[in-house]
Amino acid sequence: MLQVEAVYKSFGDFTAVYGAHLTVERGELVAVIGPNGAGKTTLFNLITGQLKPDKGKILFKGEEINGLPPYEICKKGIGRSFQIVNIFPRLTVFENVQVAVLAQQRKSSNLFFPAQSLAVEETSHILESVGLSDKAASIAGSLSHGDQKILEIAIALGNDPELLILDEPTAGMSPEETAATIKLVRQLAETRGLTILFCEHDMDVVFDIAQSIMVMHHGQTLIQGKPEEVRKDKRVQEAYLGSVELAEGR
């Protein structure tokens, strides 16, 4: 479904992504892991158009999407959430998701109809599926960090994506919140038939739910494979030297 082939991106002298490869098949849960600064977020930004690659190819459903602006890529069916909370703080929770649904329905430029009666069902449905229904009328900026991260995912669902990209969905969450979020992600993948690409620091989580894992180090792809293959790989163990949870396995 998604193919990233030998993509490069540098900022001045610093090369953030140096020949990354990634394949995501339809219906898969794919994780990208790697030490801090390995280029995971940059890679995601390249896929969803926030950044343009210097070199390389990104194919989505066989179509080249590198260099397209974010809103075009979004319309092709890739939704994403961000690592740092990235919501509309002055709008209500409901409106946050509704904006995305309206964009997906190509109604954003409609001037002649009250917005409060549009896309209501879809929006309510999404809020229900992520468990934010009772907070629909709250101002998004006043939510707890954990709820804002969930709202992140809800906004991304508003676009009804085929491929959902989650950049550290559990960053800054308590262990309980992390568990709940992971359960939610898994549930979404099943009920909506979503393909999910995510990156995550918590190795337990990654090896627990990912069907395929891509390991990045210094902007390069070390390996992509099934969790067992990745765990056994020598280069991965070297990259993570000292990272006990991976070296010992589970």
Partner: protein, 314 residues
């Protein structure tokens, strides 16, 4: 969720807006002519401030030279009435239309830049229009402006002007309200909060911002037309950047995250200029002190403050 416009407005807001409107309807029956004039001027200025707030308060755009479009609308109307024999209604359409075209041209360049750069480019392009108007004696009358512009025959008395301006401004405000509550308006507010996120959910942010500028500048042009109807003259000062600053202050003073805040801001500033300006030409000194107090004590503006208080008491 029930459909329809009636449910759009919180009941309290609807009652107070209706009450104010009907109070304004009867004012000319007993108020002296001077006050009727000041109120009319407040309506015109309020429309101008509201049009700016559409892009700056709800759209988050650094629209720093909004007066340019006000002036363009006023001049378009004045020129049609004095230099052509076209019917008056053409002028009423040409004002907002010319302003909107100018908004489209300037906006097209500005939305390519972000934040402060947007504002700086707009000040320079707007000042360019001012310079042209200021220098082009043959066409615009240069720094003398155009005086003694005839009023349409149906606006023969100052009370008629009052009612006409009140009706047009009320109509424009209702349209603005509906726009803000439409999907377009909601998306615009989302862009203000977070443009990057908006792009990522599939919104063409630049096109949306440009559309907002065109809408706002056409309302500013309409305000310019109403200014000419009231004052019967145009001068280049209408496009000068200090006026842009003044309307920016009105939005800030009234509260730019509220809908009707700029109306209050416009009323306060016009009243201050009229009544304090009578005693001293340094009325801006008082404005300065008010602004300092505002920033420290009411950062959300006067309207924003009262809305918060009333929300707490509920």
């Amino acid at each position: 969720m029930p459909k329809g416009v009636a449910n759009l407005i919180p009941r309290r807001g609807l009652w107070s807006a209706g009450g104010i409107f009907f109070a304004l309807l009867i004012v000319p029956q007993f108020a002296p002519e001077f006050y009727v004039y000041i109120l009319t001027l407040i309506f015109v200025t309020a429309l101008l401030a509201m049009s700016l707030n559409l892009v700056i308060g709800h759209g988050g755009l650094f629209q720093f030279h909004h007066a340019a479009f006000y002036g363009v609308g006023a001049y378009a109307f004045a020129l049609i009435l004095t230099k052509t024999s076209l019917p008056v209604w053409v002028g009423f359409i040409a004002g907002p239309l010319t302003a909107a075209v100018m908004g489209l041209l300037i906006g097209w360049f500005c939305v390519r830049l972000s934040q402060l750069y947007f504002g700086m480019l707009q000040i320079s392009l707007g000042s360019l229009i001012w310079a042209i108007v200021f220098r082009w004696y043959k066409f615009t009358g240069g720094d003398d402006g155009i005086h003694g512009i005839p009023r349409p025959s149906f606006l023969s008395s100052s009370n008629k002007v009052y009612y006409f301006v009140l009706l047009i401004v009320t109509f424009c405000l209702i349209v603005m309200y509906l726009i803000l509550k439409s999907p377009f308006g909601r998306t615009l507010q989302a862009i203000r909060d977070n443009p990057q996120r908006c792009e990522a959910v599939g919104v063409n942010v630049r096109r949306h911002q440009l559309m907002a500028i065109v809408i706002a500048t056409s309302f500013a042009g309409m305000a310019g037309v109403l200014f000419v109807v009231l004052e019967r003259f145009v001068v280049p000062d209408l496009l000068f950047w200090t006026l842009s600053l003044e309307i920016l202050i009105m939005c800030l003073l009234g509260g730019w995250f509220t809908f009707a805040g700029p109306v209050l801001g416009a009323a306060l500033i016009v009243a201050l200029r009229t009544f304090v300006g009578k005693y001293t030409e340094y009325w801006t000194l008082i404005l300065g002190i008010i602004l300092i107090l505002l920033i420290f004590f009411l950062p959300e503006g006067v309207m924003g403050y009262f809305l918060r208080i009333s929300e707490r008491s509920r």
